[in-house]
């Protein structure tokens, strides 16, 4: 199929940036979206132009590196997938596709479609861990039984890949789904109880400091999350925060 691409081009963080039109031809339906971008870039390089910069790495939906806002949706029109898992059969011959970077004050653009998500790392530094040394001298792994349900629910929260689709989707650029997922994982496990109060306070404080917005319960984040992280995690984080402040 033949497509028109409207892509955000921005030289660096200081540049104002603009949308630029490109044409790609003979795109196969079985290509992934990023392979279509590879075709465009090969075309640009061969024409002596600068290729479009975009983040990507594992190309199997787990590293969380890819991050495109496609036709107004994080990771494009399909559900439960990252951009690297999105296939061109979701589009039609002759389509015009708009491709933008994540838009959020806390995620400044580095170049073109590449944004700086280090704010997520800094929130994790503030408390996204259990304070245990890696000496190997911990107690036996089976010493504390954990109910299957708690382990499974913790796993559902821990499955977050930190891509930032929730922030990009949210009209308030809120990071609550991301932070809620990490807080939930530890809140559901006995190992995380000892420092639960400090953890939630510190992570939420850092989240606010980074300039993320607040949650107004729209739920768009849950819809766009490629890993199906539930809004329940936000509710749990709020409960944890409440508990920590009384």
């Amino acid at each position: 199929m033949n497509l028109t691409l409207k892509i955000w081009r921005q030289v660096d963080a200081k540049d104002k940036g603009k949308m630029v039109d490109y044409k790609v031809t003979e795109i196969s339906e079985s290509m992934s979206f990023l392979e279509m971008m590879d075709v465009l870039n090969e075309q640009l390089v061969n024409a002596g132009e600068q290729p479009v910069a975009f983040d990507h790495d594992c190309r199997e939906g787990i590293c969380g590196m890819c991050s495109m806002y496609i036709n107004g949706e994080a990771h494009g029109p399909d559900r439960g997938v990252t951009t690297c898992q999105l296939h061109m059969r979701m589009f039609k011959d002759g389509d015009t596709i708009t491709i933008e970077p994540w838009r959020a004050g806390a995620f400044p653009v580095i170049k073109d479609l590449v944004v700086d998500r280090s704010a997520f790392d800094r929130i994790q530094h503030a408390g996204g861990y259990i304070s245990v040394n890696t000496s190997g001298n911990t107690q036996d792994a089976n010493a504390i039984p954990i109910s299957k349900q708690a382990a499974d629910t913790a796993m559902d929260a821990a499955t977050c890949i930190g891509c930032g689709a929730c922030v990009a989707t949210c009209k308030n650029s809120s990071a609550m789904l991301f932070v809620g997922a990490k807080v939930s994982q530890y809140a559901l496990l006995p190992q995380g109880q000892v420092e639960a109060a400090d953890r939630v306070r510190n992570m939420v404080a850092q989240m606010d400091l980074e300039g993320f917005g607040n949650c107004t319960n729209t739920g768009a984040c849950e819809v766009e999350c490629p890993k199906g992280i539930s809004l329940d995690t936000i509710a749990r984080m709020n409960r944890e925060l409440m508990k920590a402040s009384i």
Binding site: M65, D116, T134, A141, D152
Partner: protein, 665 residues
């Protein structure tokens, strides 16, 4: 230089304990004055960084991704082995050790593997303490699965995302140390050289991938944890950025490179669909428990299927060749990875491949639908169930076991694997070879270490499933933190290493000149053009089966391609900005050297072992033939061009395991 593996004396079960009792330690006050650089933040690098920082060293960690959490360990699916014997099924340290050495086709180092098995149980304790949500049973205790090549259930898992959860565990341990200021994290940075001062590794030259700035970083020791080099084939299950550069740079500065030709080609991946393909996706090995692998018996049917005039489901049983069941009646579809991959290639080379590229075989679940369906009909007391009902009941069972994999397949291929058999083909997945290390995990450059997939380590010529995660975390959490202390004990009076020395100057100059060359060359072909060409040579001539003639041709072709690359490569943009093409150019340049050494290593190894299959060395019925004289590690010394590399042999002795033939008939 003679190779000294520094294996401690004494019985194998006491070696590690005795070793730890007698090494030099660095007192906590002195650790504050010692810096360690760790390149890579996957399971090995992440766990090492966290542990070294906890011990008190100042760690500088480097990742090319935008966060340590994105290293490719994150993509590991199945699980992690540990000799816990929670199932009471007879597992032990010895049995894990034995399975690993045998699985590696008797080409790994006994003492290292035993230590790996010994510390494996601790890994699970550690990860649970960190909050890794491993799967549990209804009693609240940890659950286990079984994996290929073993007779016990020792694999711990977190859904199909075990690698992700273990990496996030190591990442959380790093975060705690980053918050304390004990780890300084350099994201979006790539190591471009190691700096050797007075014969010791004392730092690296790194490039900031956002600004293009070239930076000097000094330390008392350098740890390479940069993963494997499967991307030398262009197409693999590795991440797009996975590369050999860190390992190759230390090789060029004096570290020997071991067994480059040992590659794991995984049998069950989704086949290529076209020339634009950038990456291959693995379908878990567990599918072979219930799927039967076949191709049509007649070439006419193959042709009809490729043309679309016939569907695979229309072929009767006697028109199908279940070639694994035919060749290996004892193990059938569950032969080890190397054997299954070669058998698929044999059929496709003979013209029986079932897709447009001719490189695909069927993985068919119809028999399982029927078997499970009939069983369910009995259980549910349905008398005289229709065929459709049996299929429906059977599909429900298969869906419960592998639903997510079937869904993933459908997303990529756009075919419903419940209605038509899956198509699969082998793909490059893991590299057993890597930088040579001694028992201390130190390379032949003093003060330079290699851990995880980056070293040649513990898997011999073939790795067993669920053992890569085990090795990465064992090296990083429990082995390196001890062994590196023994070396650093001599450095307590050294003081800060200056970055102003002539050695740093020279290394930086070399790096800068190479970058300027790429930018100024303005050639005619893109970096990917060369990478794809290299990948094709590697796949065709150094892939699942190899022969002397092909390998000799590969050496010539790679050498010519490298020459062409250095004349005609085109890298757009400048060196002082975010420039992915530039970063890729450097990586492909190194792959073009490694590829040739790889072929040379495969040529010299005149035997078949594990993932290395030489057509000249097979039994009458086409099986791999190991040869006693090759019971050694090939460690290559850099001497300029890959063709001039000098071979050093580390003889392998098996004192605790009897070396036997592997047969799956």
């Amino acid at each position: 230089m003679a190779l000294d593996s520094k294996i401690p004396k004494g019985p194998i079960k006491d070696k590690w304990t005795d070793y730890k009792n007698h090494i030099n330690l660095v007192n906590p006050a002195n650790k504050r004055h010692i810096d360690v650089i760790v390149v890579g933040t996957g399971l090995a690098g992440g766990s090492a960084s966290a542990t070294l920082a906890e011990l008190g060293y100042n760690v500088k960690a480097f990742a090319y991704q935008d966060s340590p959490r994105r290293a490719h360990s994150i993509a590991a699916q199945g699980g992690i082995n540990a000799a816990k014997n929670y199932q009471g099924d007879g597992d032990s340290t010895y049995r894990l050790f034995y399975d690993t050495v045998k699985g590696g086709d008797y080409r790994s180092r006994e003492a290292n593997v035993y230590r790996l098995a010994e510390v494996s149980a601790n890994i699970i304790d550690q990860c649970v303490a960190q909050g890794v949500p491993f799967a549990r049973d209804y009693g609240g205790l940890l659950d286990n699965r079984s994996f290929g090549g073993v007779l016990v259930s020792r694999t711990f898992y977190a859904k199909g995302q075990t690698g992700q959860q273990l990496l996030l565990g190591a990442y959380s341990a790093m975060n705690r140390q980053i918050a304390r200021g004990k780890i300084e994290m350099f994201n979006r940075h790539e190591m471009l050289d190691v700096v050797v001062v007075d014969g010791k590794a004392r730092g690296i030259i790194a490039r900031n991938l956002v600004t293009g700035e070239i930076e000097r970083h000094s330390a008392h020791a350098v740890v390479i944890a940069s993963g494997g080099y499967g991307n030398v084939y262009f197409l693999s299950t590795n991440a797009m950025g996975s590369n050999v550069t860190a390992g190759w740079k230390v090789h060029k500065k004096g570290a020997y490179f071991a067994n480059p030709c040992y590659t794991q080609i995984h049998p069950t991946c989704i086949p290529r669909s076209g020339d634009y393909q950038s990456k291959l996706t693995l379908m878990s090995e567990s599918l072979r428990n219930d799927g039967r692998i076949w191709v049509p018996k007649n070439l006419d049917d193959v042709k009809a299927i490729r043309e679309g005039s016939k569907k695979p489901t229309e072929l009767t049983e006697d028109q199908r060749d279940y070639y694994l069941e035919r060749r290996y009646p004892a193990f059938g579809n569950l032969v080890p990875r190397d054997v299954a991959s070669r058998a698929a290639k044999e059929r496709c080379d003979a013209g029986y491949g079932v897709n447009a590229t001719g490189e695909a075989v069927y993985l068919d679940f119809a028999a399982s639908f029927e078997r499970y369906g009939k069983e369910q009909a009995k259980i549910q007391n349905i008398s005289n169930p229709s065929e459709a009902k049996i299929k429906e009941l059977g599909q429900e069972i298969v869906k419960a076991k592998y639903g997510n994999l079937f869904q993933m397949y459908e997303k990529i291929v756009d075919e419903n694997p419940y209605e038509t058999p899956m198509m699969i083909y082998p793909a490059v997945h893991y590299t057993m070879g890597g930088v040579w290390v001694d028992y201390n995990l130190m390379t032949t450059i003093p003060g330079c270490y290699a851990i995880g997939e980056a070293n040649f380590s513990d898997h011999g010529a073939n790795r067993l499933g669920a053992s890569a995660l085990m090795q990465g975390l064992a090296d990083g959490y429990f082995v390196l933190p001890y062994t590196i202390g023994d070396y650093l004990a001599d450095d307590i009076r050294t003081g800060k290493i200056s970055t102003e020395s002539s050695e740093f100057e020279a290394a930086e100059k070399e790096v800068t000149e190479r970058i300027e060359f790429f930018i100024n060359n303005k050639g005619t072909h893109s970096v990917d053009y060369y990478h794809k060409k290299l990948g094709k040579i590697m796949w065709d001539k150094c892939g699942m089966s190899r022969n002397a003639e092909g390998l000799e041709t590969a050496i010539e072709e790679i050498s010519a391609l490298r020459k062409d690359f250095w004349q005609n490569v085109n890298v757009p943009g400048t060196s002082t900005e975010y420039n992915e093409q530039l970063a890729k150019a450097g990586r492909v340049a190194d792959f073009l050297e490694l590829g040739e050494l790889f072929a040379k290593d495969a040529l010299v190894r005149e035997e078949s072992a594990g993932g290395h299959f030489r057509e000249e060395h097979q039994t009458e019925d086409g099986e791999a033939k190991r040869i006693k004289e090759f019971q050694f590690v090939s460690a290559w010394e850099y001497k300029g061009e890959p063709k001039d590399a000098v071979l050093h042999k580390e003889e392998l002795a098996y004192e605790n395991i009897e070396v036997k033939e592997r047969s799956y008939k």
